[in-house]
Symmetry: C2
Subunit: 105 residues, 2 copies
């Protein structure tokens, strides 16, 4: 849903500008975050799916990264922000940050 080629399609076929493409991305991020925030509010855990990091966290953190990049208001997602903060302190996640990859510009 958030791939470059989707944005390209929105631009060429639907005439969306940069902000229009960003709003598309924000919408689908919020849709997922709404669901996960509700789950975490009802059943709190240290990470996204329990007290140990799981594949859910591997999916979550890049979405939080995108959320910040594209300007999603994170105020409605206190549990997700808390989990993301916890994840960013784990060495494995810190080392996987986009800015630390060999091809990061």
């Amino acid at each position: 849903m958030q791939n470059t080629r989707v944005g390209k399609y929105l631009q060429t076929e639907y005439g969306k500008d940069e902000d229009g493409k960003a709003e598309w991305i924000r919408h689908w991020i919020r849709t997922g975050f709404d669901a996960l925030e509700k789950m975490l509010a009802e059943s709190p855990s240290r990470y996204a799916a329990g007290d140990e990091p799981t594949l859910a966290d591997v999916c979550l953190l890049p979405q939080v990264f995108s959320a910040r990049r594209f300007g999603v208001d994170l105020a409605p997602y206190p549990n997700l922000v808390r989990v993301a903060d916890a994840l960013e302190h784990l060495q494995a996640f810190a080392e996987a940050h986009p800015s630390r990859q060999p091809d990061a510009m």
Copy 2:
């Protein structure tokens, strides 16, 4: 990409009508089919990923079903059509057809 809620978004936010929503679906089906047809043309096999049915076939057949439903021209995809025909002759796939489910209308 082809979920109902995406179509609903295209309708409410972008003002797309039924054909506009169908064209969105057709576009993404063709994108996947273009890639898979090329792979099968270069390296033919009985099914989508070899001579035994695999998860790739479980994904492919519903896409062919959707392609026909939404009017994708299948002429450019002779290998995919051949694989789909072979799959439809397998009992497990035949029994999983949407029209044979208990809640089929």
